[in-house]
Amino acid sequence: MKALGYRFSFFAGFVVGTFTLYVFLRQMWFERTVAEQQANSFGKFFDQLGGEDKLWKKERSALFNLKHPHHIGEDGRVADELYKKVRILCWVMTGPNNLEKKARHVKSTWSRHCNIVVFMSSVDDPDFPTVGLGTKEGRDQLYWKTIRAFHYAYDHHANEADWFLKADDDTYVIVDNLRWVLANHTPDEPIYFGRRFKPYTKQGYMSGGAGYVLSREALRRFVEGFTNKVCTHTTSVEDLAMGQCMEKVGVLAGDSRDTSHRETFHPFVPEQHLTAKFPKSFWYWSYCYYPISEGPSCCSDISVSFHYVDAAGMYLLEYYTYHLRAFGYKYRYQPPTPKNYRIEHLSFPNSADGQKQMASQEKEHGKVDNPSRSAQEQDPDPPPAAGKDPPPDAEE
């Protein structure tokens, strides 16, 4: 009897001991790995902070882009040239409550492709940074913010940019494509571009949410218009008010469509333009200045903007635009090279081909329609048979 009792208590003790130590060890291991993870993430965090400083120069509440973002393995020479010649100041309409929710993602994605970006808010924030426009927040303040934002851009940056883009913090803009649209115009033209709407005005006006861009001359006339009281705060409907002022000061409403007449600025997300069937009673049908296309022809290959884009949508569009592609794919639509941009001086190995391409491109600028037919002729890429690649990319 007694022996059994001893055995039993020994066994019980053994089980208790094993269990206790097991729990203890697991807890220790868990805590150790959590601590490691935290240490790692802190390390990463500091690295990123340092990294970010090198991309922007923060000056007077504006972010000056130091490095036009490049992709490993790409030939971005045409984009680089346009970057230098078509300087764009992007100002983003935001507010103190949206900095973390929305504006932050704009800052991490498309605004990096602007020459200068300024985040306009009602309140100054030196860290983000945002400019405080001295207004309140709310839909009724939109035109006030717009007026002040453009005045700010004119007062501080008139000589540092050629074009001045207004976008919302839920607008995604492909700035490289905007440069293509603008490249055939000069900043001295009184003109502005966006998604053209037709009601209430003679020449139409540009949708606010889809973003619009003023030439330097257009901006100058806008500011002058307010100084001379030709333009005033007529309504809080910002885009319409803008359009009315532009008309008064003689700024032309431009046609931003591509050479296949496809729209580039979009007031909704890609999914809606590509797949939704808007009901005929929807305001959109009566607002658009040009005939609406549903389905794939809604949107240019070199689209400039989309609206109502949420945070994840910003990164998704960045991925689709700048990252994801089909290897070796020959695009159907080849946008013609802008008028004053010669590609021959971008040293291609076979200069004879370069001359031939130049000649055919000059012919092309007479034509407007059906670029897909002439895709072969317009292709600025050297033929693969040349055997040598253009000057090697440094980042490879």
Partner: protein, 317 residues
């Protein structure tokens, strides 16, 4: 009483020591195990640009023309919307897209295998594809809920010999079995498919009706059968080691990356030359068509050493 307590204490001490020893030993072996795991985990990487430069232009042109993909798309009338979407989107980029259905549909045409059992149907489809391969040497097996970028698949297998057995995709391990997940799409070389079709005849190794009490999913069954023929699952990756085959949707992966790499969301997410995504809505698949084959930033060019032309009679690419 006291002596019982003493035994108890002895028990506790010995139990604790036992636990310590066991955990030390197991951490030891798990370290060695994980090393051998990496050894057995196969990767297949796409060729880098430098590697491709070693080929002459003539060789590249030949590869360009020769590499053709037979798409085996397993549909069912119950997912008609996805069937139609796949028909209207990525399948147009297959050299030979073939739809195999479980039962005929009045709305869309397909090869009617007239078979409700998923595994049996898959076997029939694979056998049919092998017999009708013609000159095609690469096979891509997927369901219509997957979106595939066939050009990137071609890029992955460009320098691989289809007379060698290749079984690629998103390779994962379940116990001892390494298999390619169906949702991410399955790539088979001609040799792999040939061996597979042969082993289908072997009721012992690769039975049509599974022996186990529980049903093994088709992708695992496939792996088991292939393993018998000496063909092992390999993970398809880009030159940076990033997986090319995804079993999740692109927006889901972006959201994961926003959580895991908030300062580097896009870089930390998905490969530039991804081959597949899964679980997207039909509308999202149309958006992906636009994003892959059309939307791009002007002035950024990739002088890829191969050229793939758009398919005839299509307007969304």
């Amino acid at each position: 009483m006291l002596s019982e307590g003493g035994s108890f204490i002895k028990g506790v001490v010995l139990g604790g020591l036992f636990c310590l020893v066991v955990s030390l030993l197991s951490s030891f072996s798990s370290v060695t195990e994980s090393n051998t795991d990496d050894h057995h985990h196969h990767h297949v990487k796409a060729a880098s640009k430098d590697e491709l430069k070693h080929f002459s232009d003539g060789q590249l042109l030949e590869l360009n023309n020769r590499i053709q993909v037979y798409c085996i798309i397993m549909v069912q009338p119950k997912n008609l919307v996805y069937w139609a979407t796949t028909l209207d989107t990525w399948s147009k980029h297959c050299d030979k897209p073939v739809f195999y259905t479980s039962e005929a549909s009045k709305a869309l045409e397909a090869i009617d295998l007239n078979e409700k059992d998923d595994w049996s149907r898959l076997r029939k489809a694979l056998t049919h594809a092998y017999k009708n391969a013609g000159d095609l040497r690469w096979f891509f097996l997927a369901q219509p809920t997957t979106f595939a970028i066939i050009e990137n698949l071609k890029y992955l297998v460009l320098t691989k010999d289809p007379e060698e057995p290749f079984y690629l995709g998103r390779a994962v391990k379940s116990g001892e079995l390494e298999y390619v997940e169906y949702d991410g799409g399955i790539v088979l070389s001609y040799e792999a498919l040939k061996r597979l079709v042969q082993v289908f005849q072997d009721e012992e190794k690769c039975p049509e009706k599974g022996r186990a009490l529980w049903k093994l999913s088709e992708d695992k069954q496939l792996a088991v059968c292939l393993k018998y023929t000496g063909v092992f699952a390999e993970n398809g990756e880009d030159t940076n080691g990033k997986g090319l085959f995804n079993t999740k949707s692109v927006d889901s992966l972006i959201q994961d990356s926003m959580r895991d790499n908030p300062t580097d969301v896009v870089e930390g997410c998905c490969s530039d030359l991804a081959v597949t995504f899964n679980g997207m809505s039909p509308n999202q698949m149309q958006v992906m068509m636009f994003g892959v084959y059309r939307l791009r930033p002007y002035g950024h060019d990739f002088h890829d050493l191969l050229t793939f032309y758009p398919p005839e009679g299509s307007d969304n690419d």
